[in-house]
Symmetry: C2
Subunit: 237 residues, 2 copies
DNA sequence: GACGGCTAAATTGTATACGATATTTTGCAC
DNA sequence: GTGCAAAATATCGTATACAATTTAGCCGTC
């Protein structure tokens, strides 16, 4: 349990309160799949883990619920979100809807140094792919999402960036739940293809590749009701 | 001041807490422009207004800050958001990015009864336009946004619907701040044109009209820095 | 042995209390 | 009268306390 606590404390100050740090720490834990969907996050436990009162723990959980990463049930508590197949479909539908547009925006304003940055991301991603171990796996998951997030950042639209933050994080949950192949890294080369298309200014092709890429990720899912897996409804645990 | 208090108490239960009601009440007040950008929303005042403790008031303000309708400054308090011109541009850029996609999704699954519903909305909107008075104006503002929100609802994607909720609400703030013409109702007929295009299944045209419509709204804005207008920096309250 | 209700423990919902930070006011020197 | 410094005030940040609801355990009855 303490493992999650040590992996954080990343010290931010621009936020309004210390609850932000807790939120970010828990979010990272969810996105990196150290916390499984359905896991109960009681306010007391969270507070103790971070050595703060329930007030802050609660605020952090509330924040996460707005992002769709945690679902809070009245008088019952907070749980790591357990997206339904329908939710999963909607998440990817949303991505198909917005990512081509973001890509176009990004391509229109991208600078050479930003292209370089993207390529470096790809390199890092590839390096992680070849490594073994849990930590490498987690870093790879994060890196894979970072590609899409960086594109959103380059687009220069903070609102779309925040939205993509949410979509990528929730995608990670969906993949954790419904993903079939060991890792979604199969799509790594597709990232490279997209960057290449951007570089030669072939936006239509880049968008096509992006849609294909998203469809590829989605195709790896087995979207069938797995209700109550990991929840106490399954075995009374 | 009490006027805002009377306009609410709409009783929800599906949410996790009573803070939701307060949040919705304040959001309505902001969207209907009873609360001006920059207005201070102190936790004490909000709590007293709704006869709850600061705890709930704070939770509601936090929630609104996640939606971008309220900005909380550390150790200074919460204020009705005062979107910068750049933020305004990004909000409308986001709308241009997602609304055509939402429109296509909605058109693909729309039922005759839903078309009827849309037309009824238009009628209501037109009726409000011809009326006089503050209440009619406010209702009109809300109705105008409801058109876009209804389209998002028809699309069947809850995530995009929530996103549009946020965008429409923030648009209302932007228009309140930078709008030039007395009311943005100039675009009402455009709503009708869009529905007509959907009805005859001319999606390309519908999307074109939608983009045109959004551009129209944006063109009515005067996006120049108006810093501190309405804030105490202007005349010391 | 299974079911139903009752009590006790745990957990969340909300309020209050206290400390920290920012803002305003006051007072004094210049 | 102006400007700065320090106290007073107001407001936010966080913790703790109490009430309400849910959950779990227990026991008696069928």
């Amino acid at each position: 349990m303490k493992s999650t606590a040590t992996a954080l404390q990343t010290a931010e100050d621009s936020a309004d309160t210390g609850a932000q740090q807790i939120r970010d720490a828990i979010r990272d834990a969810i996105v990196e799949r150290r916390l499984s969907p359905g896991t109960k996050l009681s306010e007391n436990d969270v507070g103790n883990l971070f050595n703060v009162s329930r007030t802050l723990a609660r605020a952090a959980l509330q924040a996460l619920s707005y992002e769709g990463l945690v679902s809070v049930e009245k008088n019952r508590g907070a749980f790591v979100a357990y997206p339904s197949p329908e939710e999963a479909r909607q998440i990817f539908a949303a991505r198909r809807l917005v990512e081509p547009g973001i890509l176009r925006e990004a391509a229109a304003r991208i600078s050479p140094s930003q292209i370089q940055h993207l390529k470096q991301l790809l390199l890092e991603e590839g390096r992680l792919m070849s490594e073994r171990g849990q930590t490498a796996r987690r870093a790879e998951i994060k890196a894979s999402g970072d590609f899409h997030l960086t594109l959103a950042a380059i687009s220069g639209n903070a609102i779309m960036q925040r939205f993509m933050d949410e979509l990528v994080a929730r995608s990670s949950l969906v993949i954790a739940l419904y993903g079939q192949s060991t890792i979604s890294s199969c799509g790594h080369s597709e990232h490279g293809d997209i960057v290449a298309a951007i570089e030669r200014n072939d936006l239509d092709e880049a968008c096509r590749l992006m849609l294909h890429h998203i469809a590829h990720i989605e195709a790896d899912l087995d979207l069938r009701e797995r209700k109550s897996v990991g929840l106490k409804e399954a075995f009374e645990l």
